[in-house]
Symmetry: C2
């Protein structure tokens, strides 16, 4: 296909009629498909069914011989911390294991920072005039929702394909009101990009206006690869340490997309001072996490090798779905000059930049044809994409056949919206 | 025994020597006993071992046919809300089921109130000049710790044996800076008292200076009786509704002392507006609770009758421990005029008022004799008991034989401290 911008008015109209026909035919199929959220599919959850009968009636003692049923153990079981130490890039004593949601840990870090401050704060963040976070875009809507909830200003920073644009980030971080930055360093949500070592190095070393600046390092997809190649990212805690900013990074992760989405474990890892700070705050909130669920995970995954084998089984289920989306986009859109899409090596999303000003229309067309997409703009702070062009596709949950159908429909919608925009111009 | 205050100087000295001898003999036994925290004993946790193998590999569907393994279900499963509806005194649609800690729900309500306000707030509580909570004393140290953490002033209010002194509470609540009040309405921590219907009625109806005043109604021991008699408390949500203050009460509870202390369920129940508020805030924090643990509880306890039968089994284990403490105090201290203690009909504690100015000394004497007690003052805000007289005894965790030994030692320490105080006067 040649770029639609190069077509004559007549050829464009002919193409429009053809694509409109394709769209109507697709709509006539009366499908009902959902590509909105990064949820694991039932077959993925089945991989962890062995966990559901653990610990069993008599197996509730920790390696230290403590009764995991009772109160306590705020930092999490040492054996659970050790199991995920490599995934988190932190020694076990710098890890906290909490309940099922890493988002909850991030939320709590923000509210405690607002009300109490973090190590190095001269005052609680809420006493800063107009505190702000840097938000690489496109990014994760639930990160942005926490900032919005608590009135934290969000400053978008562009992504480069290797992580955020560090010239822009360094300039923005010089403002003392900038207290933190959201980062999904590996298989980023939604672009799939992996932060380069140089980016991580600059994030660790950069001068910040706020002495209590924090990287919210959400390593959500640490072990979630989609190809044979295993990507590694830099050890952010070590880099921060070496750069003289030992307390700069808060590292987050969870097993929501490893074991059980609604019943996994979530993790916080950081410097000794930050871990002490976190535990001191958390001790006011709870007597301890659900240690039985930690025992379930230890019994089931056993060790780092078991964890990686388990992730390989996820990959076998997921890779064909991502291929189906990329293939459908390729088949319908290659060369048309109407969209660019990512080929992620891991993570849960495909990010598509459609023709400027058409993302909302693509979502509306897809909706009318039975394909639910994440609202256009969701990947930007406050849901406002200034170019109205980014779409996040989430192919993990539906069956492969549905993903294939949905992707075909989405490709048609992208092309139709671009043609109609061009025609109206 | 006659009151030690009536003894002649010689008789007092003779008694002192005898009791000092008893103390030294007790200390010589080299015991190591812990009466500090309200933890269930292993035999109590054993009652719920059947829960530990649930749901099993294939039983993860909710009554509505949803897959409990995946994300979502922020309010909790309808069947879990129905199971605990009677315990909470609220219909299922006014209940939220969260993870293992009701303290965490209270903490979150406080931080959200501080940062966002509650329904009816003109501004976030943190923008109020010097916000305060009423704290019936003696009370629960972890409640007080949350206030202390966030700089909320604590105003003690006396207890009467039927709940807080309502004349005092009504006068204090007229201050617009008073935003809330801690209440443990049934088998109160630590006094064991049960709020009378009249007290509940006045709490619901009283005029408060703050339009967004909240009762933090921590019904921690709703089904935790120690005797044949089942005490009922008033329906606080209905009373608030009738009094024209439908949003006044936040109700909290958990199964920490019903099933698994570290792996139970926690609950929030309130008015429709408060539940909407809670869920709107919680939706920024998490995608949903661990629904598999809710399924475990539903499969195991089955229904309200199952819950109450289960609590009867706890009672059989706990009542002898409470009896042992009361009997030991009675045996050593009756008539001596050195202490008053509660005879709780439920809950987890015995509260002892020793001779004024001796509580710290009793704890120190007990410590030196191998009996760990909760620090004196713990039942008061900031750990400061102005009379230095209240002790909280927690007899649930140690084996019965240890409870008996510890109680004997404590009684000796109480008597010795009182005699030595009187002698020095």
């Amino acid at each position: 296909m040649s770029p639609i911008a190069d077509l004559s008015r007549d050829d464009l109209e002919a193409l429009r009629l053809k694509v409109r026909g394709d769209y109507e035919a697709f709509r006539a199929r009366g499908l009902k498909l959902d590509m909105t959220r990064g949820k694991p599919a039932p077959e993925q959850l089945d991989l962890s069914n062995g966990l559901l009968a653990f610990p069993g009636n008599r197996d509730y003692f920790t390696e230290a011989g403590e009764d995991a049923r009772n109160y306590g153990g705020l930092q999490g079981l040492p054996e659970a911390r050790a199991l995920f130490s490599s995934m988190l890039g932190a020694p076990a004593d710098r890890i906290v294991v909490a309940d099922n949601s890493s988002l909850a840990i991030m939320h709590d870090c923000i509210v405690w920072a607002l009300l109490k401050g973090v190590p190095g704060s001269a005052a609680p963040w809420s006493q800063t005039s107009s505190p702000a976070f840097l938000c690489p875009v496109p990014g994760y809507d639930r990160h942005f929702a926490i900032c919005e909830e608590f009135g934290i200003r969000m400053i978008p920073a562009p992504m480069t394909g290797q992580g955020p644009d560090m010239d822009a980030v360094e300039a923005l971080a010089a403002d003392p009101a900038v207290k933190g930055m959201w980062c999904v360093p590996k298989y980023s949500n939604p672009s799939g990009e992996v932060y380069s070592d140089a980016v991580a190095q600059r994030l660790a070393a950069m001068k910040t206006g706020a002495p209590d600046f924090r990287l919210f390092w959400d390593n959500a997809y640490a072990v979630h690869r989609l190809t044979e190649r295993r990507r590694e990212i830099a050890d952010i805690l070590a880099l921060c340490d070496e750069a003289g900013h030992p307390d700069r990074a808060f590292v987050f992760a969870s097993t929501s997309k490893v074991t059980i989405a609604g019943g996994g474990l979530a993790f916080f890892a950081s410097s000794p001072a930050n871990v002490r700070w976190y535990l001191a705050r958390a001790s006011k909130r709870t007597i301890g996490p659900d240690k039985l669920n930690q025992i379930r995970h230890v019994r089931f995954l056993k060790d780092e090798a078991g964890l990686l084998r388990h992730m390989d089984a996820h990959r076998v289920l997921l890779a064909p779905k991502f291929d189906a989306v990329v293939n459908a986009l390729e088949a319908r859109l290659a060369g048309a000059g109407v969209a660019q899409w990512t080929h992620p090596e891991g993570g849960y999303f495909i990010s598509v930049d459609v023709a400027d000003g058409t993302a909302k229309q693509v979502v509306a067309l897809a909706q009318a044809a039975g394909v639910a997409l994440t609202p256009a703009g969701a990947t930007w702070p406050h849901g406002r994409d200034p170019h109205d062009r980014n779409l996040r596709l989430a192919p993990t949950f539906p069956p492969l056949r549905d993903v294939r159908d949905a992707a075909e429909g989405i490709a048609i919608c992208i092309l139709l919206a671009a043609i109609e925009k061009l025609r109206a111009a």
